[in-house]
Point group: D3
Chain length 317, copies 6
């Protein structure tokens, strides 16, 4: 039995060397990158048995994605498809004032046609937790329906369901997102959302605590988690409100920070720890992630605990 | 006025390092690659004023393609499109018995919607030569019509039209190719085709000379050129038959050999040289190309002439 | 239940860039390399469910080894040890007359203290096949005893046992090898050995067939397989003698050829195919491996079958 | 007709990898670098039709320079010379307290013999703008005369002339520079100079505004632009004085900041914008440049405008 | 006659690319790294004739170490051994909160068996200075005895002896270090120690000056040098106390800072300069080192003097 | 006392990656390369104490050259000059029919002004052997005189003088070479020349043996060595004629083959071995060199002996 199953698209990410530009580089580094597989990897590395499910074209390009995820110990249980593309994106990182550039090339990805009939639904029903994000239903109508069906099946089976809002303005408008997500969140237990997305997508205002509380109540959530950049994260669970400050960290590799936060949270929450412990672990994992290139938190439990204990000091030798 | 305008898709090519596999590599080298732009680059480097026209999405990824072509001196006169993808492909080269692997990812490329109305038709009509290949009409119905229209306009304007069969089994069947090409070749002056494709696509048999002659007669060609791997190339022009042996060369970098052959041919033919001279130049350019990584023949007229004169001997210092 | 469990040491391999020397290089490529894990990877990639077991120090260096093996789908079921080193070696490849240089640095590897009590013996007993090689008992007295115990347990449980002689002159003398192997081979079903090693270690002479037959009879083997460089491989099974010519291939990346041969053989033999089919698959896998850098055969069943069918011709596009 | 023609030397720049030293590196990255071609590239990328003219030796090394400039869309209209070197320099960048090291190797560059008779003077006379810098006349007596002749011809023809002081202490003394520049500036319309160079070369003192005003009056300038490091840039034009604060940016890649400032300025000023707009564009382009390795501002108009609007915030996806 | 002989282990250091992790990297950069050879290189580069002595296995891997040291001009006078390993370590650097990871793999290094009988003792006796560190006696009992014998021989011969505490918690406990070092320091003239190590190893407390004074008195030191991170270094010599502030510098490459400090100090002190001058040179060398990747201070006297004079300003060109 | 002193220019060599072109590469590998330092390195590695003398500009670029030579154990005893360039060249290697391209950029190198007054003439007079080549006098009139003076001094002092013709058509004509060399060879003991150069420069004809004999007699040589590509080398010494077949080898890295031949020869001849032994060693060293990138034979005596004994067979492990 899995501790966690995640579902979503994993793309191949192309990046020019440090500081270089997409337009002039002659080499791109290649990495697997997807919100839901990032969460699976983080959770697996931090102690859970995690499985990632999706739909991939049967090609070496997609096998590269599966291989990289497997190297972290994650079980890859995907549909291998004859049609459909391997989604890709180009990511360029630049210092201020340039910022980061993301160019998606994910149209017609194989995953956009994935249906519950071909996915390992029983695996999800037997797992302790199931996780997906707001990116998945935004990718196609089929995926919107599939996401709803998987969440419903998981909920019905007693699997703890986790959902990260992950609003992407290049995929849909706030209004479209609100409509779809509203229909999904009734089947969600743990909902994580960046405060700025909560305000934009759900058209909310007021104090952070009010927002988290309203989300929890509206959708009957077990836990509502609000991330707030470098401000403390906030969770509302039942009557309790918890705050967790962020740990000081570099901003060298911010992509994937949110996913490692969720992976860190679930690694504890699904293992029976309470919300404050899970939040602390989440924040420490996210801080550590930012030191690691790529989307994936290459991290161990000992390293997360060192962050919690105050971080590495000098060189241990 | 241009000496040569070429029209077609240029993709971004991703390749793992030498001998490595797509499935396990962490870095891909990135290069511009397209049959028609390869011809433009070769012709430009060998003395013509060449322009490449196409349709590209307005993104850094596509600007990378344009920039690489420009670096060889080619004029890039393209439609910058809001929609459509930058086509890509993955190329892995392997020694025997592995061979080369090509995985196209060119669906929905911006160029597939290019119409004569947006392309620089006047530029083609004013050029000495116009070149495209059998890949272009295979990419979409729109492109099939556009190709026909451009060839017709060029022919009407007195521009010498050149066409390379370039049959791609991953794009269409021989029968589909035959149907489409038959409708185009009436507007073609110089037709280049690999003998094995001539047999497959046009369902021809018999001696090489018979095939070339039949092609020339059927389609009213000025010149019919048959390439035959390491066997001598063959041209039929009017009553004359010419044979041009290949020059000895490595097979280290075969991709683009055919395009550099055509580029070498046109660089001479459009400059007023006769068919045998153009054929010799074509064969020497093709031999030289095979020493150069990537799709593009980074070559100079002096280097082609050195090949014709017997190749470099030892180290000149 | 596993189709195959393999047991042995996997080292980290350091190699300078192509043609460069260990003594002057500033960068080494790093890869996992071990005879038994190579076999597990090959078998897994060709369709079996394969597990590799061993003992590794609990460090990022050893986790790198485990991660690379997992990326190919192999299950890694190892003892994580507080003491002992991660074995390494330096490999430099050179053209003629330089040849390849191997410098082992594997003393005190964690695996040298592995005992049956800590290894997953039940997993081996429940598997369809178990494989190890002559390297393992050569590494320490403890490993010599452990190897004997595992083979005996597997044999007792009805697991098909496979053993590759893999004589290493840097680890022991022919006489030492003979003494130890003689005690192990009674529990072996499938024995693979290079003919030159059979002659040296077992002090045998005569025709190839005589050698294979004598090995089969002396040790009561189900199958005795003799590899003979570029000459055909030979197998004796019961009264039958089978010959399998090698497939033409590059000699660019010879390290790991033997392991991929065994992996290819077992992928078929343990799946119920007869000896001639398994031999043919073995030879094709080995030929393909030689095109791939590193110790590991990054290969698919389709690619093996293409080799059997005559190899890739030109570029498929 | 060109919007801008620039004239000067472009060198090949050799740099060790990040933080490494010239003395110990085994690889140098190679880039085209020249003050005047940097300006041409920036202006071209920001919307002008720009041409760079110079004199290069007819060799692959110099063709590499031309190709890189062409890749940005610049027209390269140079004299290809049988004699003379391709100038090079070694650039090493180091964090504090190391700083950057520049070692010129530009003696006897082909450009040092360039005369108006062989350069495209008509092109300059027909262009909207002409730009060169104080480096050019410092390179040889011939170039000093040629620079004077080109400026005079441009001025005579009504071409707006732009000149960047670019004082180089490794090429000449302040007194030598003063003597030569004084003779040139009468034919200059837009003069850009770092304040510290203005003080050193022209032996000026007083407030920044006084310096700019004095320069404008002494040489009859249309615009005198003073750059002042991270302090606001200053322009005097007629009676007006304009100040333009710098935009916050990294100092990761400072080489070429001044050239991109001028390129940004000219892209607007020659397009009819007024001085304050051109200054703002200049400052934003310079800030953006500092995020890009190499001498060249790989930038688009949209990116400059984003800097003006406050810079990129987070990751747009 | 040498100005300085140093004795100790030099390892091969493996590092993943910037920010990458040991566990996931496919390439490691390779460098020679050892406290005593670092000092020899720094001293040689800053003007002394320096020799490094040790014991190395006779293999290309160890010859790589010797070659890199020789490239800086150091004389390598080592015992080439048939047995024993080339010690290695893995170093990964990470931004906050990750920090740096060091994994030693130095067990059974050839140097651990080095005895005075095989080492060039006469060379040490004839040198102006001899230097080793607290790492060396921690590596083996044999090395502990050898270190004592070499220091005694040097002291007896009138060679100035220098010793850097270099406490390594992965090699021994504070108590073990104290016992051994107490027996060595009577033969030491110049003792350098980080204040935090002085407190830990020698169980000292009180003000910095008290500690340095007590060390000087207890062990009869000529000079006791206390380094204190970014706080000023402190030296006690006879009755005098000297303070030397650190020079501002990056913390990009901290490994080897202490060794370059000692190398800078000895380059002056052994050349007859007084303690304050030597301290200033030491601090400037250490600051410069932190800009250079690897363990070794690739630096020249001019560069040290530039740091003393306030550091490089902008780009000199 | 040195066993061998060599004198000549060492350049920095820039090469694009394998198969790539100078014109399009973005990175060049950097190596020290000079005929006379190549010989010094080879001789040092094969057992002699070798010193290389020359004149270098005092810059990091030239220190890089010195450092690389020192890393092989060679003593670098050069004049550090305030003026003059560090000579460089660009080397591109290509498969057939492209061949190799060499572009010298060595004008005004510091060494071209080297005079006996500043060079270590006493070192040469005290050495067992002195070696230079025909490149050196071709570089400048000063060097022509200096070469003559050094050879005369060495001869006078009883040092064995060695000279490699090394005719370079890019430096001078055969007639110029003949005039200069004729004046030098009277002071030469061991003269090595490629047969094709002997014919071209000295306008000789006839059988190989006749040529060698005539050279020996004309110039009073101790040994005249004729290399003949893949044909056996030939030596005439007194009345004896010796032939030494080449050892089979790759032609992957031919640059430096001749220098390693001479280095191998001198390593034996100056050590007292007779001509046939020295020739055999020379041929084996040359064959080995061709497997190593760069100009320098990174080789050990054991490796040369393995080549003599038939080359490496398979992988020793």
């Amino acid at each position: 039995m899995d501790d966690l199953v995640t579902f979503g698209e994993t793309m191949l990410r192309f990046s020019p060397p440090a500081d270089e530009r997409i337009e002039t580089a002659d080499e791109y580094t290649v990495r697997a990158a997807g919100a839901e597989s990032n969460v699976a990897v983080t959770a697996q590395r931090l102690g859970l048995d995690a499985t990632w499910t999706s739909k991939l074209p049967d090609s070496p390009v997609a096998r590269r994605v599966a291989g990289e995820l497997r190297s972290h110990g994650v079980t890859v249980d995907v549909v291998w498809s004859d049609g459909g593309r391997q989604g890709t994106f180009y990511l360029e990182t630049g210092d201020r004032p340039r910022g980061n550039t993301v160019i998606y090339d994910r149209t017609d990805a194989a995953v956009t046609t994935a249906t519950p009939a071909e996915l390992p639904v029983a695996r999800i029903e037997n797992a302790a937790g199931f996780h997906t994000t707001g990116i998945t239903p935004a990718l196609s109508d089929t995926l919107s329906e599939t996401t709803a069906a998987l969440l419903a099946a998981a909920q019905e089976a007693g699997t703890t369901t986790s959902f990260d809002c992950n609003y992407r303005s290049k995929l849909w408008s706030p209004a479209e997102a609100r409509d779809t997500l509203a229909g999904l969140l009734d089947d969600v237990d743990v909902f994580t959302v960046a405060e700025r997305d909560a305000r934009k997508v759900f058209d909310m205002s007021g104090e952070s605590t009010e927002i988290a509380t309203e989300l929890a109540e509206t959708f009957g959530l077990e836990v509502a988690v609000l991330t707030r950049g470098t401000d403390p994260a906030l969770a509302v669970s039942g009557d309790a409100v918890y705050e967790q400050p962020t740990f000081e960290s570099t901003d060298a590799h911010p992509v994937g920070t949110g996913d490692s936060f969720v992976g860190g949270f679930l690694s504890q929450y699904l293992d029976g720890h309470d919300v404050p412990d899970a939040l602390e672990y989440a924040a420490a994992t996210a801080a550590f992630k930012r030191t690691v290139p790529g989307d994936i938190a290459v991290v161990s439990p000992e390293e997360v605990e060192t962050v919690i204990d105050g971080g590495a000091a000098g060189i241990s030798r």
